[in-house]
Symmetry: C2
Amino acid sequence: MLNIPALKGIYRYHEFIGPVLPLDAVIYLGEGHTPVVEANDRLRAMAGLRFYYKNDGQNPSASFKDRGMASALSYLQYLIRQGHVEDVLAICASTGDTSAAAALYASYFQGKVKSAVLLPRGKVTPQQLAQPLGSGAAVFEIPGVFDDCMKIVEALSENYRVALLNSKNAWRILGQESYSYEIAQNFEYDMAEKVVVVPIGNAGNITAVISGFLKFLDTGIITHLPKIIGVQSEHANPVYKYYLEPEAEKRKFEAVAVRPSVAQAAMIGNPVSMPRVIHLVDAYNKKSGRQNVFFSEVTEQEIMDCQLTANRNGHVACTHGGECLAGLIRARQTGQVDGHETAILDSTAHALKFSGFQDMYFQNQFPPEYEVVPDPKLINTPQLVRPADLKHVPEPGKPLYGDELAHFVRRISAEIATLLDLKKI
Amino acid sequence: MLNIPALKGIYRYHEFIGPVLPLDAVIYLGEGHTPVVEANDRLRAMAGLRFYYKNDGQNPSASFKDRGMASALSYLQYLIRQGHVEDVLAICASTGDTSAAAALYASYFQGKVKSAVLLPRGKVTPQQLAQPLGSGAAVFEIPGVFDDCMKIVEALSENYRVALLNSKNAWRILGQESYSYEIAQNFEYDMAEKVVVVPIGNAGNITAVISGFLKFLDTGIITHLPKIIGVQSEHANPVYKYYLEPEAEKRKFEAVAVRPSVAQAAMIGNPVSMPRVIHLVDAYNKKSGRQNVFFSEVTEQEIMDCQLTANRNGHVACTHGGECLAGLIRARQTGQVDGHETAILDSTAHALKFSGFQDMYFQNQFPPEYEVVPDPKLINTPQLVRPADLKHVPEPGKPLYGDELAHFVRRISAEIATLLDLKKI
């Protein structure tokens, strides 16, 4: 019983993530070992190959960020127990998944670790506030924009005793490598003809994925490296643009000015992990003996259409999951993948976190800068059933009774049966 | 590879849930095998015993209802393949977890199964609409209240070819039994000194939990039956009241008029599964050789306070998870459990689905009928950091530069350091 935390979660791969950690320092809050769900025939036909979603939205804070936080906070717990640190403040300036995950994991150590989230005043939805507030983080609203919040976080980390939980923290990347270990295990360690599709934002995710597969290859746990497809939106595509140049010596990284994207976490024009990407992509291709990392660019329209289509076929993909499906379709069209391969797509968060974009789509309310125009076939809105000839309908506080109620039920159910083309028994 | 669906999810217990189903009829959308997360020292001290949350909110549609839907839709797929049914409409009138789960599982069979959700006009939040709309269900708004919707669903099921996916469907209960099988497996089949705490609404859940443990006992997989605590809110307590009478012959079931509850799914005054509860509780106690099923009643205040406290200590419990913690504390006080036992609490859905109640608590906006008054220690709201002496602050479109920016960053970070009592490096 005492060992349950250590035997579960991302630390099932303890040897790869953090063998220096004693088992009893490991935190388990229910992260990792997320489901792999096969696409149905319709989606397979649409993509041109068999594929699966790996639902990282089924992590405890509903995003993949829990993997890295479980690792970073386990290490922090170890440092606290060793007496190396005390009164830790875990701080970040994310409006989304990172702050939710940081606040959740910090809250498990109430009394030993505090967490604080900095957000730009008036720019945050109640949904984005709910998770860090619920986990008890100190939430500060700052005048200005997101960049101003980041500068203040940096100033705090330079001058005060705080634990940085952004993706520069190496333990976070180690934790995120568990995503690759799980894929290998899910597919019985047979990575031949497999394609792993991931969205790129700050590029921490793709470096963790590449690094994870390299470690499993180096230790002989897998014998093939899967193909990797990194996907970017046209609205935030610096990595894609960098690799457009086929000759490595001629490549030159240039940050881009991002435009609004439904793949919120990917709206990054100057990824902090770019040097690591360049190094790891090179190493991965060399170990593969051929080009085995590819980059794909998609439109905002494709991202939304693919997310909604996936969710109409049994998935709970977020916009980043939609981005991966769009990237896979593009990769199939350009020949980066072919029909006998099997793809695994990363849905980094739960659809529930992105219902605002779904609402904007269904109500055709995207601001023009997103460049998303709803496809009428994908719009779904409630229909009021209120036959005009029906004189009396119930209202809250004014129920119908007897024959009136029976007539109402008969008329409404007949109307619904007509709308849905139901057959009589 | 082909067998991944059958080897995962709730159908890992195929022999217990539905051995008549061929493996290839089984649907797997990522349900089941939800995490079991141990409470930290603070929570353990508060409850008076060691306990764990089992996070059923980490199912794909973010509630335990996926267990039953995976089972019911697997059976439906089998019937479709056998040619017994076609053009199925899966229908329900739930505003919450049931419709989200039914719509998700039906959507995997787009083209073969349609789903429809009936909701009372003007009574549903955008959050409640998002899941069934996203899964492509036909969503109908009906004049009147929830009971009117239910009457129409019943009329449809009596007169048209529709698949009823409410909890009368036996396959749903079979699927939900997987919750017990997983607990047994999580605790290495040692159910001695274990206490399983579940909320009671329509009572489908507690019957499934009891039935599951009985099957594992009957087949020798476990040798002890865990103690069961069923929890009800004072605002919807017919099962609790029934069992207040210690002598079985004198018990008389009476439906109650429910009052508003934050444990929305438990707001049921006349549970459809009551006859089954009576039968199973009796059988369970007999097999245990002593009373082994207990009932606990809690206030709305306790439910909210416990949910928020759990989430401030590393959990992602919904209000029903809060209800279970409140019920455990009450059971410890009344002597139904003692300090050397270990409890497993059911968080039936993800906290994300219930952020509206959290907002009401933090903003002290509960309507009086809920009888919830926020505890100031549990309120968490954003703080604006805007020192009065700071002349210039950035605004969207009006950034600061140079010395002005540096001064702003210095002042704000110093202010935050003071608020958080941070130590200088």
